[in-house]
């Protein structure tokens, strides 16, 4: 496992491109003046306008959280305002987005009585206390992006029902906990195990509401990377992010990262519960892409993430100084594997150049990048960043579509204007 200290977080103030270069061109001062653009901006009035129809939101402060974009009060859906991603590669616990499916969420956790039950196709059912989890297994840690399957759903065209997120239903944290493999080995898996199913403490209001249960294949569960986290970014998880235990599935969408994890069940047959068989299905096509109304598409459970990149310090409508270097900065991640490179374009994707990469804080985490943009002529520029992961998979230039609004990873663009200095 990758081991990174939380103190290794890249400071947004430290430039990847040499400081001398910056000062030589006065780019630092130039960059300081370009943060005020239009788009997903938090206004003083506490309103946020996500850039799609019916995208007006307010900010709300929930327990243990900062002001986040309120998508739904109950059960909470809270989005990270996008400017927070410019602060560094790690998303702070208070800024981290929140997503719950079911309304009966425990508001009180007693750590001295909390139990993690492991049963099913194992030698003997066991119950672990939090003390057991902390003391009986070796701690491991890993940086990993947690991204909602439906992150960016609001940008789908045609639009689809569901949580209408902008791009902020994601975050990167340094997770600390124990390897799931160790706990499963401790429980003793029986021959014939096929999948491992995870459940948390959240429940529906109606008895009929399906419990939120998600499963991973046994080989995946035992790969040594999947972990049970009791800390994120060096502190206990906020309640709304799954305190005291949360499954971490590096490289996979957050639907599998079960919060308030209380039950692990080893299955000797594939899981057919609602949340695996009916919900969270994607077309089994490259990029989970299909046409609206397309028939006879094989649907499969959502799984591995795909690469993405974002510009974090400039917004649509920003004005940058003509014939001066402006540092364009962003974040990127590789999805189910490491990030290979980030390419930058200032002409809407006709020409691409390599961006300068920031320090690598872990294969599955965000990585910062920078590009010194020096507009030679006045007018509009369409800036783009394209992530290519270490398997050579690049973000597509055309957006995908599927009825669930899942796995958007099109190359994003930011339109800016260069004006004379």
């Amino acid at each position: 496992m990758t081991t990174n200290g939380p103190d290794s977080s890249a400071s947004s103030n430290s430039s990847i491109i040499s400081r001398r270069d910056l000062l030589k061109t006065a780019g630092l001062l130039g960059a300081a003046g370009i943060f005020l653009g239009r788009g997903t901006t938090a206004f003083a009035s506490n309103l946020v306008d996500l850039p799609f129809a019916n995208g007006e939101r307010s900010l709300a402060r929930f327990p243990q959280k900062s002001d986040l974009i309120l998508l739904r009060t109950r059960p909470p859906l809270l989005e990270t305002p996008f400017d927070r991603f410019d602060k560094g590669v790690f998303t702070s616990n208070e800024d981290f987005y929140v997503r719950w499916h079911l309304p009966a969420i425990p508001t009180s956790i007693d750590v001295s009585t909390y139990k993690l039950r492991i049963d099913g196709h194992i030698k003997r059912p066991i119950e672990l206390s939090l003390g057991d989890v902390l003391n009986r297994f070796n701690p491991v840690q890993m940086a990993a992006v947690n991204q909602c399957s439906g992150n960016s759903r609001g940008f789908f065209a045609p639009r689809v029902p569901g949580g209408q997120w902008g791009n902020g239903a994601m975050g990167n944290a340094l997770w600390r906990g124990v390897a799931l493999k160790e706990i499963l080995n401790h429980a003793g898996i029986q021959p014939g195990a096929v999948q491992v199913r995870f459940g948390g403490l959240d429940e529906g209001e109606m008895p009929q509401t399906p419990h939120f249960l998600k499963s991973l294949d046994i080989e995946h569960a035992m790969n040594g990377e999947v972990m049970i986290a009791y800390e994120m970014n060096g502190a206990p998880l906020p309640m709304l992010n799954g305190f005291p235990l949360r499954l971490v599935v590096p490289g996979w969408y957050a639907t599998y990262w079960v919060k308030m994890l209380s039950h692990i069940e080893v299955l000797d047959r594939p899981d057919t519960n609602y949340w695996m068989k009916t919900a969270y299905l994607i077309p089994d096509t490259p990029g989970a892409n299909m046409h609206p109304g397309q028939k006879n598409v094989t649907m499969v459970p959502i799984n591995r993430m795909v690469p993405r990149s974002f510009i974090t310090n400039l917004r649509n409508g920003a004005v940058v100084p003509l014939r001066q270097r402006t540092i364009v900065r962003g974040i990127a991640f590789g999805g189910d594997t490491g990030l290979g490179s980030v390419m930058f374009s200032s002409d809407g994707g006709q020409h691409w150049s390599s961006a300068t990469m920031g320090p690598d804080r872990g294969k599955y985490g965000f990585r910062q990048w920078e590009f010194a943009f020096d507009p030679a002529s006045p007018g509009e520029f369409t800036l783009m960043a394209k992530a290519i992961n270490s398997d050579g998979v690049a973000q597509p230039l055309a957006p995908n579509w599927n009825p669930g609004g899942f796995m958007r990873n099109v190359v994003e663009s930011v339109r800016v204007r260069a004006a004379g200095a």
Binding site: P103, R159, M206, P236, M239
Partner: protein, 127 residues
């Protein structure tokens, strides 16, 4: 040693044993309401969540029906933040809530719900 002092000595021994056991347990658990290990300490937590109890209205008509059915499980932003959806799409959502999630919607209530949320959804787009 008379009977009384023997009894007292036994009592002290019991208290000591119980006490030391409690102290050991305490040491393992850290302070009450906390557990620790490997340099990590977790404390019991309690939060209060907003109720999200704003309703569409409580009349005997469709708005009251939406309030008493749809808002059982989620607050009204779930409806109000949706993009413009067709009546068929709303009907599919409402049927899903009824059949899969167990929302107590009678079959003869479905059309009223579809009509109300469709109209509401259309008006929300113009805000």
């Amino acid at each position: 040693m008379n009977r009384h002092t023997r009894y007292a000595a036994l009592l002290v021994a019991v208290i000591t044993i119980l006490g030391s056991d409690a102290m050991v347990r305490q040491a393992q658990a850290g302070a009450p309401g906390s557990v620790g290990g490997h340099g990590v300490e977790l404390h019991s937590e309690s939060i209060t969540l907003p109720l999200g109890d704003q309703t569409f209205g409580k009349s005997a008509g469709a708005e009251g029906l939406v309030s008493t059915r749809c808002l059982l499980c989620h607050s009204q932003e779930m409806i109000d933040t949706q993009p413009l959806l067709t009546k068929d799409a709303w009907r599919a959502e409402i049927k899903k809530m009824q059949s899969t999630y167990g929302c107590p919607i009678r079959d003869d209530e479905v059309q009223g719900l579809v009509d109300f949320v469709s109209q509401r959804n259309a008006s929300e787009q113009q805000r």
